[in-house]
C-alpha cells in the first residue's frame, strides 16, 4: 500500500502537463474551465474542435488498446491524465461518452465490424455519442422500458419506436445507443436489444427539456420507426441488458478522479469567496467547508481503493458507494456555495435564468442525486448486492 507515483509516472505527468500547456491556449483559451456540469451546453463547437486537437495529440481514448489508436494507458497514467487535465482547466469533454462508454462497450461486446466502423471516429474526435436508456415510465425501474425494435424479416433492418428521456446533449450528438425491447412478449430485463443508432435521420425527433435553470442540456428523443442496420445491434437480440449493465460498470472508472478535480475547482472557488467576504468567520460555514474538504479527500481515496483493487472486475464495496457519495457531497456543496455567498446568492446577472456558475451548481446538483440511479436506488443496490439483504416483495401496495 503506497500512495506515491513512480518516476516513470511522474515523467508521464510532465508530458501531459506540457502538452496541455502548449495547446490549451490561443483559440482554446476561452474554453478553459468551461463545459462542466451545469455548463455542458456552452461552447459546444469550440469543445468539438478541442476534441480534434486532443486526438491530434493522441490524448483521446488513452485507455483504449493501441490497435484502436489508444495508448493502453495504465490506471496510474489515466489517473494522472485526468488530474492534469482538470488542473489545466481542460473543458468538459464532448467526447466523454464515446471515449468512456461506447468505446469500452464495443471493445468488450462489439463485433469486429462495429469496432472498425465506430471506434476510429470516436478516437479522432469527430463522432459524438449520447445514451438512450431512461424512458418516461422507466427511470429508477430501468427494466421497465417499452421502446421496441422490430426487425424487418427480409432486410434484417431494425425499426425502433418509442421515447427516451434525459438524453444528455442529444441535439449535439451524432449517435445514440438505445436499449429497446426486441421481443414484444418479454418483460423486465429479458428480450432487450442494444442498438447503435444514428440521430440524423427522419425517424428521430429531439425535443429539449427545459430545466429549473432555464437551460436545456437534456432532451426527449422520440423514435418513430427509426432505422438501425442489422449489423448495428451489439450482442445478440435479447442480450441488451447484459451489454447495458456492462456499460454501467464502465461509468465508475478513472474518470471519477477527473470529476473530483472539477469538484476541487468548485470547492477552491467557494473557499476563495468565503475568505474574501468574511463567511469564513462563520462557525457553521467553517464546519461545512471542512466537511466538504474531507469528503473530497474521502472520494479520492475511495477511488484509489476502487482503482487499485477488484482486478476480478466485480464491483467492490467502495465502488458501490461511489455514486451515492459524490451525488450527496456535490448537492451539499451547491448549498454551501449559496450560504457562503450569502444574500448575493440570489442575485442573477440580468433577466431570469442568467445564472452564474455557483447558482447553476446549486440548482443542477439537485439532479445529481436523481439521474444515473437515485440515491434511493443506490441504497437498495448497496444493501442487496454488498450486504446481501433481501429484495422487497413486488406488487402493488394497498
Amino acid at each position: 500500500m503506497k500512495l506515491t507515483f513512480t518516476a516513470a509516472d511522474e515523467q508521464f505527468r510532465e508530458e501531459v502537463a506540457d502538452w496541455l500547456n502548449d495547446n490549451l491556449r490561443d483559440e482554446f483559451a476561452d474554453i478553459r474551465y468551461r463545459g462542466g456540469p451545469g455548463d455542458e451546453h456552452r461552447f459546444v463547437d469550440e469543445r468539438k474542435a478541442w476534441e480534434r486537437r486532443l486526438a491530434d495529440g493522441r490524448w483521446t481514448c488513452i485507455g483504449w488498446p493501441e490497435t484502436w489508436g489508444g495508448r493502453a494507458a495504465s490506471i496510474e497514467q489515466q489517473v494522472i491524465f485526468h488530474e492534469e487535465y482538470a488542473r489545466a482547466g481542460g473543458p468538459g469533454r464532448m467526447g466523454h461518452i464515446g471515449d468512456t462508454l461506447t468505446g469500452p462497450t464495443l471493445l468488450a461486446f462489439g463485433s469486429e465490424q462495429q469496432k472498425a466502423k465506430y471506434l476510429p471516429p470516436i478516437r479522432d474526435g469527430v463522432a459524438f455519442w449520447s445514451q438512450g436508456y431512461s424512458e418516461p415510465g422507466a427511470g429508477s425501474d430501468l427494466a421497465a422500458i417499452r421502446t421496441k425494435a422490430v426487425q424487418d424479416e427480409t432486410s434484417g433492418q431494425w425499426k425502433i419506436t418509442g421515447q427516451k428521456v434525459w438524453t444528455s446533449l442529444a441535439h449535439e450528438s451524432d449517435f445514440v445507443f438505445v436499449l429497446a425491447r426486441v421481443d414484444r412478449d418479454s418483460s423486465r430485463h429479458h428480450g432487450l436489444g442494444f442498438f447503435l443508432v444514428a440521430l440524423d435521420q427522419p425517424g428521430v425527433t429531439i425535443r429539449p427539456i427545459t430545466q429549473l435553470t432555464g437551460t436545456a442540456e437534456f432532451n426527449e428523443v422520440y423514435f418513430d420507426d427509426a432505422v438501425c442496420d442489422a449489423e448495428d445491434i451489439v450482442g445478440a437480440p435479447g442480450d441488451g441488458w447484459k451489454v447495458a449493465m456492462g456499460l454501467l460498470g464502465f461509468e465508475r472508472g478513472v474518470s471519477t478522479l477527473g470529476q473530483q478535480m472539477l469538484f476541487q475547482t468548485e470547492l477552491d472557488e467557494i473557499i476563495r469567496i468565503a475568505k474574501s467576504n468574511g463567511a469564513s468567520r462563520d462557525p457553521d460555514i467553517r464546519q461545512r467547508i471542512a466537511e466538504a474538504h474531507i469528503g473530497l479527500k474521502t472520494m479520492r481515496y475511495n477511488s484509489m481503493r476502487m482503482l487499485s483493487g477488484g482486478e476480478d472486475g466485480s464491483l467492490s464495496r467502495e465502488a458501490m458507494i461511489y455514486k451515492l457519495y459524490w451525488s450527496s457531497w456535490h448537492r451539499n456543496l451547491g448549498k454551501l456555495a449559496m450560504d457562503v455567498l450569502g444574500p448575493e446568492a440570489e442575485l442573477i446577472e440580468s433577466g431570469p435564468y442568467e445564472l452564474n456558475k455557483l447558482q447553476s451548481l446549486f440548482l443542477f446538483t439537485r439532479a445529481d442525486t436523481i439521474y444515473g440511479g437515485t440515491n434511493q436506488i443506490q441504497r437498495n443496490l448497496i444493501a442487496e448486492r454488498a450486504l446481501g439483504m433481501p429484495k422487497e416483495p413486488r406488487g402493488p401496495g394497498k
Binding site: S134, G137, G139, S140, D141, A144, V165, W166, I209, T210, Q211, L212, G214, D282, P283, D284, M338, D339, G342, P343, E344, A345, E346, L347, I348, E349, S350, G351, P352, E354, L355, Q359, F362, L363, F364, R366, A367, T369, I370, Y371, T374, N375, Q376, R379, E392, R394, G395, P396, G397
Partner: protein, 379 residues
C-alpha cells in the same frame, strides 16, 4: 389557553385558500413572474378590494381591519402555499414598521393609504454585507438632511408608491423616513433574483434631500430591531405554506408515479421522507402560530421584547429548515421531472432557498437563541 383557530380564523383560512387556489395557479404564477410588472396587478387589486388582506394589520381608525397576527399568518401561509407573487409581504412589513412608529399625521396617512391599496416597501438593510446591516445614512448639511447609500432586497420596491427608509444618522442612531421613489436622488431598480416569485429591488440614494415631515421615527434602533423580528415572522408564514405545499404536491406525485409495479408512494424510502417532511412542517406551523400569538401579546403589553425576539428566532430557524428540506426532498420525490421547468416543485424550492437566507440563516437564528440562553441577553 386555546391554541386552535377560532371559527372566524378557520373561515379566513378556508376562504384564503379557496381564493388563491383559483387565482394563483401554476400558470398564473408563471405569467405574473414574467410580466413587465413582475406580478399580476389585477390580482393585487382584487386582493385589496375583495379580500382586504392588505388591511389585516392596519388599525381600524385608519381604515384597516385591525385584526391580529394570527390572521396575518393564516393569509401569508396560504400565499406561500400557492407561490403568490404579490406585494402582500411588503405591505405587511411596512405596516408592522409604521405601527411601531410614534403617532403622527404622516404615519396615519401612510397607513390609510396602504389600506386603500397603495404598495409600500421597507428599505431596511444592505444584505450584501449582512442581513441586519443598514447601508443608508442620513446626514445634515447646512440647509437640509440628505440620504445616501444603498438598500438592497427591498421587497417590491419597484412597485412602491412610497418607500420607508431606515437610515443611520450622524449620532449613529437609526431613523425611519418616508420618501417618494420619484423624488430627486432616489433610484429604484428591480433586482433579478433566482426566485422570481418574490421580486426585489435595489434602492440607491444619492444626496436625496428629505424634510422633517418625512421623518417617521428617530432613535429607532429598537423599532428597526423589532421590525426585523416581525419581518421574520411574516416570512415564516410564507415558509410554512411553501413547506406544506411541497409536501402535498410531492405526495400527490408519488401516488401517481409507478415504478417496479408499485406506486412509489408505497416505498418506505418515500413514505419515511414524507413523514419527516410532515413532522417538519407541523413543527414549523406550531412555532409560527406561537410566534403570531406572541406578537399579539407583545403588542398588548403582556410579554416583553425578549419573548418576541425569541419567538421570531425559533420560528425562523424551524420554518427555514422545513421549507428548504421539504422543497428539496420534494424534488427528490419527483425524480427526474423534479428538475424540469414544467413542474412546480422547483419554484417552491427556489422560494424556499430565497426565504431561508433572506433575514438570516437558521444557524444564525440558533446562535441568537444560544446567546439568549447562555449569555442571558436579548441579541
Amino acid at each position: 389557553m386555546k391554541f386552535a383557530f377560532t371559527d372566524e380564523q378557520q373561515m379566513l383560512r378556508d376562504t384564503s385558500q379557496a381564493f388563491l387556489a383559483n387565482k394563483s395557479t401554476s400558470v398564473a404564477v408563471r405569467q405574473a413572474c414574467s410580466s413587465p410588472e413582475r406580478h399580476d396587478t389585477a390580482l393585487w387589486q382584487s386582493i385589496c378590494e375583495e379580500m382586504y388582506w392588505q388591511g389585516i394589520l392596519i388599525p381600524e381608525h385608519v381604515d384597516g381591519l385591525g385584526l391580529g397576527w394570527v390572521e396575518m399568518a393564516i393569509v401569508l401561509e396560504a400565499a406561500g402555499e400557492r407561490l403568490l407573487t404579490s406585494p402582500l409581504f411588503a405591505v405587511a412589513q411596512s405596516t408592522a414598521a409604521l405601527v411601531g412608529c410614534p403617532a403622527s399625521e404622516m404615519r396615519d396617512l401612510l397607513l390609510s393609504s396602504m389600506a386603500a391599496g397603495k404598495v409600500m416597501s421597507l428599505a431596511m438593510g444592505n444584505q450584501s454585507v449582512g442581513w441586519d446591516s443598514v447601508g443608508v445614512t442620513a446626514s445634515e448639511t447646512s440647509t437640509t438632511t440628505v440620504l445616501s447609500g444603498e438598500a438592497r432586497f427591498v421587497p417590491f420596491g419597484f412597485a412602491a408608491a412610497k418607500l420607508l427608509v431606515v437610515a443611520r444618522d450622524a449620532s449613529n442612531a437609526l431613523t425611519l423616513w418616508v420618501v417618494d421613489p420619484q423624488q430627486d436622488g432616489v433610484f429604484v431598480e428591480p433586482t433579478p433574483t433566482m426566485d422570481q416569485t418574490r421580486p426585489m429591488a435595489t434602492v440607491r440614494f444619492e444626496q436625496a434631500a428629505v424634510t422633517s415631515d418625512q421623518l417617521l421615527a428617530s432613535h429607532a434602533d429598537e423599532l428597526v430591531s423589532d421590525t426585523l423580528a416581525l419581518s421574520r415572522i411574516l416570512t415564516v408564514a410564507d415558509q410554512v405554506g411553501v413547506a406544506q405545499a411541497s409536501l402535498d404536491i410531492s405526495v400527490d406525485y408519488a401516488k401517481e408515479r409507478s415504478q417496479f409495479d408499485r406506486t412509489i408512494a408505497s416505498f418506505q424510502a418515500i413514505k419515511h421522507k414524507a413523514a419527516d417532511m410532515m413532522l417538519k412542517v407541523e413543527s414549523a406551523r406550531s412555532l409560527l402560530y406561537y410566534a403570531a400569538c406572541t406578537v399579539d401579546a407583545w403588542l398588548a403589553g403582556e410579554v416583553d421584547r425578549a419573548a418576541l425576539h425569541e419567538a421570531a428566532f425559533m420560528a425562523s430557524a424551524c420554518a427555514s429548515d422545513a421549507a428548504f428540506f421539504n422543497a428539496g426532498s420534494g424534488i427528490q420525490m419527483h425524480g427526474g421531472v423534479g428538475i424540469t421547468e414544467e413542474y412546480d416543485i422547483q419554484l417552491y424550492f427556489k422560494r424556499a432557498r430565497a426565504t431561508e437566507s433572506y433575514l438570516g440563516r437558521p444557524s444564525e437564528m440558533r446562535e441568537a437563541i444560544a446567546y439568549q440562553l447562555l449569555e442571558g441577553d436579548v441579541a
